[in-house]
Amino acid sequence: MNLEATNLVFEVMPRFEGYAYPNEATPHPLWTVLIVLYPYITGLVAGAFIMASLVRVFNVRALEPVYRLSLLTAFAFLICAPLPLLLHLGQPQRCFQVMITPHLTSPMAIFGFVYAWYLMAVLLLELWFDYRKDFVHWARQTPGWRGLLYRVLTLGVDDVSPRAVRLDERLGHALSVIGIPSAFLLHGYVGFIFGSVKANPWWGNVLMPIIFIMSAMVSGIALCVLVYMVLQWARRLEIDIRCLDTMAMFLFYALVLDAGIEGLDWIHRVYSAEEGFQIMQSMTQEKLFYTLNVGQALLGTAVPLAVLGVLQLARRRIPDIWRKRVCFFSALLIMLGVLAMRWNVVIGGQMFSKSLRGIMSYKMEFAGLEGWFMSGVLFCLPFVLLIMLIKLFLPKEPVLSGQTLPLREPAESCATI
């Protein structure tokens, strides 16, 4: 907004205490809430995919009820992941230059390739191999446009002989194995974008990619817990308590690792007290007090850690209904905590001047491309997409991975008729 025009209506308070380089004294930080959303959404993708891999690669059978749901969640969020980035670019129509002429020393240049690889070579392929036999089945059973859609999605491969299905499974398994490092790459590189900025002591940190990966896993698993519980509630279906307990267990262990690494980062920062430490200290006590200490550390980490920890120790003594409630609210808190973490990294890193002599403030607008409303819409978009995907590809009857639906070979069908 034009500052001169704004000043006619009300006086704009200076955004700084102390000194900031004149180019930093803009009405808003350069990277705003859209850039907060971007790592948040990619983190959810990576985490949800890791959740699905637990079934495929690590053979955690208890999680089978959420296998496909996790994959679809990862897919819905991955489709929406580049939107905040695109909307934030000054010249979005030039975005393809990142793919056509990537400058290979830039971590951001890797984005297009990592994204394309993850979407095209990992997630879409894995989904296709996993769903192909069901597509064939549904194409035969479903009339109308949905049947046509399933037929198109078979890509003309309608061989559902045991040999072909076994090949699908084997390829799907191989893709899952490739998918785990790819998920780490997808989110690790987002962490590296921030970690590589040596000009900013809040960001420039060797642990940043690992912190991002760990928090991605935590937030992705928490999202799967929430989506699963809400879906079962919406469909009036019973929650598989064994599955929920297993998810809570993995959530707890991932959170322990995440909290451990983030704690190590802070211990290192406080102990080494390098350049900019004083300004960081005052930020944690003032500008980021609520989002860092209360949102991220207390509500997003300590409380779920304690509650889920108790759940691990005394699982059998706690009634099912309470376990469900504890899981739901822990997952919700973790999701909010990781969002607060992204906020603290992205916005926190721009709340002090690179002269290390001034602190800025930031108040989000409601309207506008970088306001509350738009970010809310962008965050709701993957959920809308997920609902559509669930309606189309996740029928109410449980479909277990590797388990063939009551499907007949074409020859057999003819014989029966």
Binding site: Y19, A20, Y21, A199
Partner: protein, 269 residues
């Protein structure tokens, strides 16, 4: 495993090394040719960037904080109104230490209202309490290892062979990564073009044999500018290096700035 050398292997290695060496200038020429076609700069046709090495030096002891350089830069380069500066002046005011505190220096105040373009207000403390005060002109530091060039995802910002760090406004995607990566706060997002912008040493002027606008208008010759590849008989840069001990800003970051300062204090960041 220890490698066994024989005549054929040795000759092969030497041949590969020689071919590599011969290919190097060919590769460079090809790169320069491609850049000539693809990269748009404001240099006139016929300007050869490999025949120059531009350098800027700042003698802080001479600066009076008049702000003419900032104003000239804004006008010359059509820098938008508001908090957008290709160059600016900072004022440092260092107070005397309070007696009995055991400190060598007192509190430091830094300001740059409107980039110093309209001068500076009264001192924040009484004159008798001031230990030291001085003005520091700032601009793109023309780093040897520019963080901004390193992080640009499309190569829109680049090191020109003549020492200038330039941005191709027709290629910049406006992601802002370079602005975040610059440790000196020299870059900004132009609100009109929505692309990154910074000091180019007035590339459209220096490539036509003129001085940058800020150097041209400086009344005290604080800003010293020259061409290291084509020194003049009374070269101001040579004189500057002969007379001063020089420093760079934020040397610990390893960017190796090519803008050199004489007379700055430890408080300058």
């Amino acid at each position: 495993m220890k490698r066994k050398w024989n005549r054929r292997g040795l000759l092969g290695s030497i041949g590969a090394a020689v071919t590599g060496l011969l290919a190097l200038p060919v590769g460079r020429a090809a790169k320069a040719a491609v850049q000539k076609v693809l990269v748009s700069t404001s240099a006139p046709r016929g300007y050869d960037p490999t025949k120059h090495k531009w350098q800027m030096a700042i003698d802080v002891n001479r600066c009076i904080g008049c702000g003419h350089c900032v104003e000239a830069c804004k006008k010359e380069n059509h820098v938008p109104e508001g908090p957008y500066y290709r160059t600016w002046i900072e004022r440092y005011v260092i107070a005397k230490p309070e007696t009995g505190t055991g400190k060598a220096r007192g509190k430091t105040w830094v300001d740059s209202p409107s980039g110093g373009m309209r001068g500076f207000p009264e001192l924040p403390i009484p004159e008798e309490d001031v230990l030291h005060t001085f003005f520091v002109p700032k601009l793109c530091n023309l780093c040897e290892h520019s963080a901004c060039v390193q992080v640009c995802p499309v190569g829109a910002t680049f090191d020109a062979p003549d020492g200038a760090v330039l941005i191709d406004p027709n290629y910049c995607i406006g992601c802002g990564f370079c602005i975040q990566a610059c440790p000196y706060g020299c870059r900004f997002m132009n609100p009109l073009t929505k692309t990154a912008e910074k000091c180019t040493l007035c590339y459209h002027r220096i490539t036509r044999g003129l001085k940058p606008a800020c150097v041209e208008v400086c009344p005290t010759q604080t800003r010293v500018f020259g061409d290291l590849r084509n020194p003049t008989p009374d070269d101001p840069l040579e004189e500057f290096y002969r007379r001063n001990k020089v420093q760079v800003l934020k040397p610990h970051l390893g960017t190796e700035p090519r803008v050199l300062y004489a007379g700055i204090d430890k408080e300058v960041s």
